[in-house]
């Protein structure tokens, strides 16, 4: 098995992955897997997705050299601009793929969970485009702090369901979306927003996000020394890494310090797969906390756990204060306001600039910061 190719039997990435869902969801997962395998081998499906990515989502997104910040930091910083994709983040890549798949499977409704709201907006957008219904589950706390995205989802015709259980963030929205899926597998397709969940989702979502890394690979003169991306569940990072996994580039995923499943967690089962999770001594899942709603998650996709275990990628953290500073810094030096999530990757680069001196660093700027403006007022 090559790096970042198809998972092994039963959806395993090393000891991680799998399909830990109730028996009632097994046929639904099998159906998604069969449909994805079939679609991914079908040139017409690929062509239709490619066309939507081009004429609708605005791909390819550019790689922008961050000239002034590079000079300040003493390195060459290249930004892969997912903030310029339609709906403002990388989430649209995956959602267009899954929405096309849902339509191909004859489903009428998309279910989605969202943290920052970017996946919810992308899901609502794709549903509108393809004439599907859309129900988005969102923690009450995230509804408060990402209000502009809630308004966008509603305007696009989606139903936003507030989730009041647990930490009232992404973790609990995911639980609720899965519970709804259990009861609605005939008509609904569960459109997961990151490289997590039961097999085939971690693999499928990474394949839909692979476009980030492959595009970037073709856009740079030579393979960068370091490739950095922020990690909530890890979809923008997985998509980026997939384009460089077979090179000598150092791959770095940056989690929120308050949601650091790789550095602060241990192996466990959450949301349908086995991976690294934040949990207490008794096995209860811990509550994550981050200024960035999209990284406020106690788990991480199973392939990242595997990339970490095998040493192919390394994982680090960034704290709220340095992240906010990084947002301001990119805004002032390059005229780009990044999402709080994306700024985690930048904060890590800033902190490690002296170690990275003279190197070329490619960073995925996963989304734009419009949704976060309230935090800066």
């Amino acid at each position: 098995m090559g790096v970042m190719s198809e998972p092994a039997e039963r959806g395993r990435f090393g000891e991680f992955g799998g399909r830990f869902v109730p028996e009632s969801l097994i046929p639904a997962c099998q159906e998604v897997e069969a449909a994805f395998r079939d679609a991914w081998a079908d040139d017409r499906f690929r062509a239709e997705l490619d066309e939507l990515l081009t004429v609708y989502a605005g791909r390819p997104t550019p790689v922008t050299p961050a000239r002034r910040l590079s000079a300040e930091l003493g390195l060459t910083l290249l930004l892969k601009r997912e903030d310029l994709a339609h709906t403002g983040s990388h989430k649209i890549n995956n959602v267009l793929g899954q929405a096309l798949l849902a339509r191909r499977m004859g489903k009428r409704r998309l279910l989605a969970e969202t943290g920052a709201g970017q996946h919810g907006v992308a899901a609502a957008t794709a549903a509108a485009l393809l004439g599907l219904e859309c129900v988005v589950f969102m923690g009450e706390r995230d509804i408060e702090r990402q209000a502009p995205n809630v308004r966008r989802m509603r305007m696009l015709g989606a139903t936003v369901v507030p989730v009041g259980s647990g930490s009232r963030t992404l973790k609990d929205a995911t639980n609720e979306a899965m519970r709804r899926w259990v009861a609605d597998t005939a008509e609904a397709y569960y459109c997961i927003g990151s490289v997590m969940g039961p097999h085939p989702y971690p693999w499928m979502v990474r394949e839909f996000q692979r476009v980030i890394g492959e595009e970037a690979r073709g856009q740079v003169d030579r393979v960068p020394d370091v490739v950095v991306a922020c990690v909530g569940g890890g979809s923008n990072a997985a998509g980026t890494f997939a384009g460089f996994a077979d090179t000598g580039a150092r791959l770095v995923g940056v989690e929120a310090a308050g949601g650091a499943a790789m550095t602060g967690g241990s192996p466990g089962v959450l949301h349908g797969h086995r991976s690294m999770v934040l949990q207490d001594a008794h096995g209860q899942i811990a509550e994550a906390s981050s200024v960035a709603a999209g990284l406020d998650y106690p788990g991480i996709g199973p392939e990242h756990a595997h990339l970490g275990a095998t040493g192919r990628a390394t994982y680090a953290t960034a704290g709220d204060d340095e992240v906010i500073e990084a947002v301001h810094r990119l805004a002032r030096t390059e005229g780009i306001i990044p999402a709080l999530e994306s700024a985690h990757a930048l904060a890590w680069i800033v902190r490690n600039a002296s170690d990275l001196a003279g190197l070329t660093v490619l960073m995925t700027l996963s989304g734009r910061g419009d949704k976060d403006m309230e935090m800066f007022q």
């Binding site: 399909r19 028996e23 009632s24 097994i26 639980n175 519970r179 089962v269 959450l270 008794h282 209860q284």
Partner: protein, 244 residues
């Protein structure tokens, strides 16, 4: 073997461990009013297959500082004299030494709703090594070949989930329940119990026309959360007993 090898209809009430200070009194009340076995839920922070009532019971238990070890200590002290079955999620069930600790406390069966056939081997091996039965769930969506495989590996009994959905009270028994139980009964000599949505004695009476028994959970936990005493739950169990 969880149940006596007879044709009597089985009644299995549920309680969330640690949900209230006196939750263990529910075990006594259930036993004294005709429970054939009792299902104890070990609360988990992220219960994927549970509806609002059991979620609330789990949250309340965890908020009280309930731990698995604390629940098992209470169970051990109780000497329940009725088979006890634990229901909990894979993240807890996969912890090293878990099955052994259950067995020490006198538990005889284990249900893990998010460990389906394909993932169950390590949990079943550990359970069996400790002398516990691993009870599988089947759903209305389970296809015939898979149903056969699950029934073939079943231990204790087969738990037939009556609905495509989470736990929770319902107005009537789902029409899928009877045919599912009937299908499983042709595949195994073990008892087949219907659970999920068995909310009233009439539902239980309807369920046992096709099944060997019922599991009653949310209807009891709803009352408990609303303030009913263990004795009142016992009275409710007596009604279910009478109905089947």
């Amino acid at each position: 073997m969880i149940f006596a090898d007879d044709n009597a209809k089985k009644l299995v009430p549920y309680v969330t461990g640690g949900v209230t200070e006196d939750w263990a009194d529910c075990l006594r009340a259930y036993r004294d009013n005709g429970a054939d076995a009792i299902e104890i839920g070990l609360p988990f922070s992220d219960p994927m297959l549970d509806g609002p009532t059991i979620q609330e019971a789990s949250d309340r238990a965890l908020a009280r500082g309930t731990t698995v070890d604390g629940i098992l200590a209470e169970v051990r002290a109780l000497r329940a004299e009725v088979p006890l079955i634990v229901m909990t999620y894979a993240n807890l069930a996969l912890r090293p030494g878990f099955a052994g600790r259950l067995a020490e406390a006198g538990i005889s069966g284990l249900i893990v709703p998010d460990a389906p056939l394909d993932e169950v081997a390590p949990i079943r091996d550990a359970a069996n090594a400790a002398g516990l039965d691993l009870i599988p769930l089947v759903a209305p969506s389970t296809r015939p070949d898979r149903l056969r495989d699950i029934a073939a590996g079943a231990q204790g009994f087969v738990y037939a989930v009556s609905v495509l959905g989470t736990t929770g009270e319902r107005d009537r028994l789902d029409a899928a329940a009877g045919p599912l139980a009937t299908a499983v009964r042709t595949l195994t000599a073990l008892p087949v119990l219907i659970g999920f949505g068995v909310s009233a004695p009439e539902h239980a009476a309807a369920a046992v026309r096709d099944a060997d028994g019922v599991v009653v959970a949310s209807a009891l936990m709803r009352r408990l959360l609303d303030g009913a005493s263990p004795a009142e739950l016992g009275t409710q169990i007596a009604r279910f007993r009478e109905a089947i």
